[in-house]
């Protein structure tokens, strides 16, 4: 009887508990504090200073599942997001409250131009991210493919420069140019294909395969046939 009463009491309490707004400080203490320290002051060899990173950077790292890391020092990569939308926003607000920093950008890719975007992407991004944004292993780090990157995430990454990527300020890449880049990245998720065997759009690999696997084999065959005729 006593146990039943307790269950009833808990059930009655449950909806009120979940209706409570999530606490950013609580989520921070559970998930971030061990590496980034109290109030985002950072811990040497563990995690960076979060004061002044702003809502944009925090939103990027949390929305992509980059943070929390399983161990400090590993390269962050896109994985399952641990927080629901409300928790995520609470956590972003809490991290942004450590110190003034850039807000979450609001890109308008529909105002951008695919062709200008491709030019800018080739110039600024393709060296690492590959020309149709399929990623790679360029300068001593795994470079993520952008096939799942949402427009806001792209804008956040460009302004924040996650991991070893450089930042691009308004002076080096204007908001209008950024819109074009996002438009192009969106296009590159499903680029128009003229046919043939794309193999992940990695460049002239199919031609090389024809050369090595088909033409080279045919050439060996011809040589063998000629050799047999001369001997026979």
């Amino acid at each position: 009887m006593k146990r039943a009463a307790l269950i009833v009491a808990l059930l009655a309490l449950a909806p009120t508990a979940s209706a409570q707004p999530p606490s950013g400080a609580g989520l921070y203490a559970e998930n971030c504090l061990s590496c980034h320290g109290a109030n985002g002051v950072g811990v040497p060899q563990m995690g960076s200073l979060l004061r002044g990173v702003g809502a944009g950077t925090a939103d990027f790292y949390l929305r992509t599942g980059y943070m929390p890391l399983s161990s400090p020092g590993e390269q962050p990569y896109r994985k399952r997001v641990l927080f629901d939308e409300r928790d995520l926003q609470a956590l972003v607000r809490y991290v942004a409250s450590f110190g003034a920093g850039p807000p979450i950008p609001q890109p308008h890719p529909e105002q951008g131009d695919v062709s200008e975007g491709m030019q800018l992407f080739t110039e600024h991004c393709a060296g690492c991210h590959q020309v149709v944004a399929r990623g790679g292993v360029a300068p001593g780090a795994r470079v993520p493919a952008l096939t799942r990157a949402a427009p806001v995430e792209i804008a956040e990454a460009v302004r924040a420069g996650p991991y070893v990527m450089p930042r691009f300020t308004n002076a080096t890449l204007s908001d209008a140019q950024l819109n074009s880049i996002i438009r192009y990245v969106d296009y590159a998720k499903h680029p128009s294909e003229a046919g043939g065997w794309g193999i992940g759009f990695v460049g002239p690999v199919p031609e090389g395969m024809v050369t090595w696997l088909i033409a080279a084999a045919a050439l060996v065959g011809v040589c063998t046939a000629v050799g047999r005729r001369v001997r026979g």
Binding site: P44, Q45, G47, S48, P72, G73, Q75, E123, H124, A126, G127, C128, A138, P139, G140, A141, G161, P162, Y163, V164, M165, P166, R167, F168, T169, A171, T172
Partner: protein
């Protein structure tokens, strides 16, 4: 020039007229003498000479950059090879004697037997009336093809006059401007951002003009001793042209959290040569063979960035001569 010609003539003429020494005493023939096939010899000689002429066209086309170069170079080499092959076929079918001997030879253990074989080979060629000329023509064809094949080595670059590679558009006091021509201010150079700069009032197409400018933590700088003062406030400038193959360096690797991430690097997108901007542009990785040339910087009274002099080394890809020359102080 005349002296050189005399030397060449002195080398060539006696050899042309030289006859092989007569064997003494004359021995009994083993291979039967035959009628020379003069038509085949003439055809082979002409084909050899044609091949030589075609191959010799290669260096000329290359030197004078005749349009369309690639196709003509291909034609020259292809024709030389085809004519050479044709000549060898003619020689094989019509000129060289093919003798079938029923009797097996004993192994050439003794001196006279070896002489017999030498004589056999010698006499086999007796039915060729212009043997020497034919051999010379064949030699010319093969030699010309060889010359054609080594000609592209000239593209490895100049060796003697390297001064143009050290002349650039940068002078002490020249201002740094961005793509739009606006002077770069030291205060506007942010960390973890990659800037491209050009010299003010100078040709941007010159190989030495484009610069990379980045701001590093002054405490992290490890510049060579003689470059103290080249990086005011930790702002460093390097040539944007990779020292490997001359591509524009457009990648900047910069850690968000330095203690656990790869250190800052300037990376060329062509072959991923990686340079350390904190250590005077030294090579961290990749095919580049020498450091990125650094440009000394200074900040003037109004806070604008100016060049403090010329680069620390030759700008652009590492030609033969550049590699071998010691860096200028």
């Amino acid at each position: 020039m005349r002296r050189l010609r005399d030397w060449l003539l002195a080398l060539v003429v006696p050899r042309l007229g030289k006859r092989p020494p007569r064997r003494s005493p004359p021995r009994r023939r083993i291979v039967e003498g035959r009628e020379p096939n003069e038509r085949a010899e003439l055809a082979a000689t002409l084909l050899f000479l044609g091949s030589a002429a075609s191959a010799l066209a290669f260096p000329f086309l290359y030197a004078f950059d005749v349009h369309p170069l690639t196709q003509l170079l291909g034609l020259s080499l292809g024709l030389a090879c085809v004519l050479l092959a044709a000549a060898l076929i003619v020689v094989g079918r019509g000129v060289v004697v093919t003798e079938e001997l029923a009797e097996p030879y004993p192994p050439p253990a003794h001196e006279p037997e070896q002489e017999d074989i030498a004589q056999l080979a010698e006499e086999s060629g007796d039915s060729i009336s212009r043997k020497r000329f034919l051999v010379l023509a064949g030699g010319a064809a093969v030699g010309s093809l060889g010359i054609a094949l080594v000609t592209p080595a000239a593209s490895l670059g100049p060796v003697l006059d390297m001064d143009p590679f050290f002349r650039t558009t940068w002078r002490r006091g020249r201002r740094l401007v961005d793509e739009r021509g606006t002077p770069l201010r030291a205060g506007a150079i942010e960390e973890k951002v990659f800037y491209t700069a050009y010299p003010e009032h100078a040709d941007r197409e010159e190989i030495g003009s484009p610069l990379i400018v980045v701001r590093l933590d002054p405490a992290e700088l490890k510049l060579p001793g003689e470059r103290q003062g080249w990086a005011p406030q930790g702002i460093v400038a390097y040539s944007k042209i990779c020292t490997h193959a001359g591509c524009a360096i457009s990648l900047y690797r910069v850690p968000t959290f330095a203690p656990v991430e790869p250190k800052p690097a300037l990376v060329c997108p062509c072959h991923y040569s990686t340079f350390d901007p904190a250590a005077g542009g030294s090579v961290l990785f990749g095919p580049a063979g020498r450091p990125l040339p650094q440009l000394p910087l200074m900040i003037d009274a109004s806070g604008e960035l100016r060049a403090g002099g010329n680069y620390s080394g030759a700008v652009g890809p590492s030609w033969w001569g550049v590699r071998n020359r010691k860096p200028t102080p």
